[in-house]
Amino acid sequence: MVEAAIFQRLSWNPLTDLQELFAYPFMVNALEAGTIVAVMAGVTGWFMVLRRQTFAGHTLSVIAFPGAAAASLAGLPLAVGYFGFCGVGALALGGIAGSRRSLSAESAAIGSLQALALALGFLFVSLYHGVLNGLDSLLFGTFLGITERQVAVLLAVAAVAVTLVAIAARPLFFASVDPDVARAGGVPVRLLGFGFLLVLGLSVAETSQITGALLVFALLVTPAATAHQLTARPGLGIALSVALALAVTWLGLALAYFSIYPVGFYVTSLSFGLYVLVRIGRGLANRRRTIMRLALEGA
């Protein structure tokens, strides 16, 4: 049977399975880390989608990869590489955005940065001989071997970042939606833009440690984009974005634990599936509304 082969460890008794999930410290650490990361990604992702900065977010995630590779090459903790490279990357993106070139020149510059980052990542990996196993988890994520110390670092960074976003929530919302009016009203639009990129860099660094550098979008973009589809209310949207990120993370971790496929695959597929369902649902609702309006106008 196929299921049996994939979900080798599942007893198919929900209670025992749930108990088993929390039985091992490594799994508890993974669930804690996933929870922290999901909350942070849900909050910052909602603002990123609102600001249409998903390209910047993607670039930061590509930059996370050479960061992690360089850290393992230098014998440093991976987190140092993730946070260091994403922080510097955010500063560079802020510099590119701040230099006020045309939009096409800006995306070309960001794209070039992406290519360089990817090339550097593979250089570091090839310099560090015999890390082929590690390469997979750098790119596609792992939940094995997360230490309590790592969880503490994730929690501290996330707490600072989420607090900053909460304090700046309204001016940041204003600056994202209506920058000209916000500036005229005394909101420091450019400073907020720069600050948000830094927070985004931290979020990407955190998320990379669970989903891997290439699948950051699964937690940072997809739940947020789904939330934006479901509601136009800002408060509810952020809450929904966090809830969806949490749901796919928990479910993804559980599925990965009981099966042979990597966690990044599950988290990505779950959030993608949700997004597609919501898009289809909204499409149908819009169609019905249009048809009803046409019918009313015709009457």
């Binding site: 929530a169 009016v181 005229a184």
Partner: protein, 286 residues
């Protein structure tokens, strides 16, 4: 008229009601080494509805930005609500030139109006706090004033240009400003909507006692609602009532070239002979 000058600092006018909403004296703006306009003197009285007219590139938006304090004057003095430009931010409502929100914008009109009230405030909003309820009442009130109650809770990207413009005017009004700066609010609207928004602005002027500077491309839809006109062209400006300003003599002097103003049988004004003629496009939407 007790007009403040550069010599007498506004020590009194900071507490007293101001005689004018906007005063410019021999003001000039330079951008990147180019003089946009110079030697511009004008006064906008309280609760006046004033149109800012002129060809493209004459510096109409520049005038709005100078009044906001976003651009410094190269020469001359400016007073806005009895203070220096930039010091009166909280009492100015501003609607910048824009091309509307696209259909993908998932923000409700009511949230946009709310941002006009508390968008510059830091900290986490606590739902149900007394201040929040007072804010919500004010937002509902101002949305009712512009007649947008029926669609304020829908995403703004799904609304028509006229509906979006009403909500944006509500956002600019929500803090009870004494001066409203509207940069081409009629630009993307069809003719009936242009007249409707102009009538709304006139009503706001009278009911709320707000002075309005409205940048427009075409005077005809708003002519009957206006108090005064500022016409910018050729690096200079003329200010006065529409009858004084929109004449062959005044505009010829301003452009330094022969200009003819014709009045159509329906009362519409047509300006003939200018290098770039905004008036002629009176029925471009029709």
């Amino acid at each position: 008229m007790n007009r403040p000058t550069a010599a007498s600092a506004p020590t009194k006018s900071e507490t007293m009601p101001t005689p004018t909403a906007v005063t410019l004296e021999r003001a000039a703006i330079r951008l990147g080494g180019r003089t946009i306009w110079s030697d511009v003197s004008l006064a906008v009285a309280e609760a006046d509805f004033v149109a800012v007219l002129g060809p493209n590139g004459a510096g109409k938006s520049t005038l709005i930005k100078a009044v906001l304090g976003l651009l410094p004057l190269a020469a001359g003095t400016a007073w806005v609500l009895g203070r220096r430009p930039g010091d009166a931010k909280g009492r100015i409502g501003y609607l910048p030139q824009r091309h509307g929100f696209d259909a993908a914008t998932r923000i409700r009109g009511v949230d946009l109006v709310q941002l006009g009230l508390d968008g510059a405030r830091w900290g986490v909003p606590i739902p149900g706090a007394p201040g929040r309820r007072r804010d919500a009442r004010r937002v509902a009130e101002v949305i009712d004033l512009v007649g947008a109650t029926g669609y304020a809770r829908r995403p703004i990207g799904e609304l028509s240009g006229g509906e979006q413009q009403r909500l944006l005017i509500a956002q600019a009004l929500v803090r009870r400003p004494k001066l409203l700066l509207l940069d081409e609010p009629l630009d993307s609207l069809d003719l009936p909507n242009q007249a409707a928004v102009a009538a709304l602005v006139r009503r706001i002027c009278e009911e709320e006692g707000v002075a309005v500077l409205l940048v427009a491309h075409d005077i005809n839809p708003i002519l009957s609602y206006l108090d005064r006109v500022i016409y910018l062209a050729g690096g200079a400006a003329v200010e006065g009532s529409p009858e004084e300003v929109i004449t062959s003599e005044t505009l010829s002097r301003l452009y330094g070239a022969p200009i003819e103003v014709l009045r159509a049988s329906d009362g519409r004004l047509v300006v003939v002979g200018q290098p770039e003629a905004p008036f002629v496009h009176g029925d471009r939407h029709g």
